[in-house]
Amino acid sequence: MSATSRISCPMCGQPLDRGSIEEVFIEFSTLNSCGRCGFGLDLRWRGRGSALSRPTPNLVVVSTELALEEQLSESLNASIKVEVVKEPTDALGIYAKTLRKEVPLSAILVTTRGQSQRWSDIAVAVRALEEGFKVATPMPIWFFSSAELNQIELSIFEDLADIYWRETPVNQENQTLLEVTPQLFS
């Protein structure tokens, strides 16, 4: 067992290994907190915490292909941190987290609807969250899919700002995303 795995949060006991520490920005200071319970970690933890903390992503991709994270990171500017999740609701959670940190995402790219009933669910939820959190500028949401939208979803998308639907050939969603995304962030 490595030395780091023995370190745990003094509040909840969560092992403080890679990805379980969050950085919280308060004015000009960066503090470390437990990713599970939010307990503020002592400044003595900062060096270790910074090394172990998961960077706040700028771009979240919803895809079943987790290898996209590495492929996309290579084709984008190094300052753009990419995180790939499998469910659209996971992307929503990350967006809420980044709003709390006041470093909102640049975009969400969706290639699968996961367990959601509709493609539009993630878009509606993101816009409602933004409205509730008084976010002035809506975050762009890009969909890459070969699916056909029904009339209800189309009308929902038409009512929402900054929603982009990119049709792709069947089973080419990830490939199209890899081709298009560098152009979006160039």
Binding site: G35, R36, C37, G38, T89, D90, L92, G93, I94, Y95, A96, K97, R100, Q115, S116, Q117, R118, S120, D121, V124, A125, R127, A128, L129, E131, G132, F133, K134, I156
Partner: protein, 177 residues
């Protein structure tokens, strides 16, 4: 609709109801919800403020706003069908936001005629599904369940534990039937 007497004597008031104003969010598109709302408005005498959202998007907006402003709802009541985003989508989105913000889950009461996945309540903590045969009966269930809701709020406040399913005995019976 039968009259429900919400008036109680002072010594019957729970500690939760007798203090500061508590908030309930009702997300429902059904016309009958207005009747329910007027009924629930009697709760104001018990320091319960009810906010009404007409679709899923507005419901999520109120939920997000309450988190942002630091004045959370004590209970969410959702009925189907909902426009924009359905009940299941609402709950999934809300739980995702709560996870992202490291917040404890809001207690939610879902009253629908829809069949939800069998593991729905297990997947989403603090969520109770009351299933009615149809939306009209769902309405009466909400009406009749108001006092149960209030009781749940009290129980939740007192114990700060998960909502005990046994508080809603009638629900299971109806679902099984």
């Amino acid at each position: 609709m039968s009259e429900i007497d919400l008036m109680t004597s002072d010594n019957q008031k729970g500690p939760w109801l007798s203090n500061e104003k508590q908030r309930v969010l009702l997300v429902s598109a059904e016309p009958w919800a207005r009747n329910v709302l007027s009924l629930i408005s009697q709760c104001s005498e018990k320091n319960i403020e009810v906010t009404h959202a007409i679709d899923g998007a507005q419901g999520l907006y109120y939920m997000s706003q309450s988190i942002y402003s630091g004045s959370p709802f004590q209970l969410l009541v959702l009925t189907s069908p909902l426009a924009q985003i359905d009940v299941q989508g609402c709950i999934e989105a809300l739980r995702a936001i709560e996870r992202g913000l490291n917040r404890p889950p809001y207690p939610c009461l879902i009253c629908t005629a829809d069949k939800l996945p069998p593991d729905f309540m297990a997947c989403f903590p603090q969520t109770l599904h009351l299933r009615a045969p149809n939306s009209t009966q769902a309405a009466s269930m909400v009406s009749a369940g108001i006092l149960q809701v209030i009781y749940t709020l009290q129980a939740y406040r007192k114990s700060d534990d998960q909502i005990a399913e046994s508080d809603f005995k009638f629900t299971r019976n109806q679902e099984e039937s």
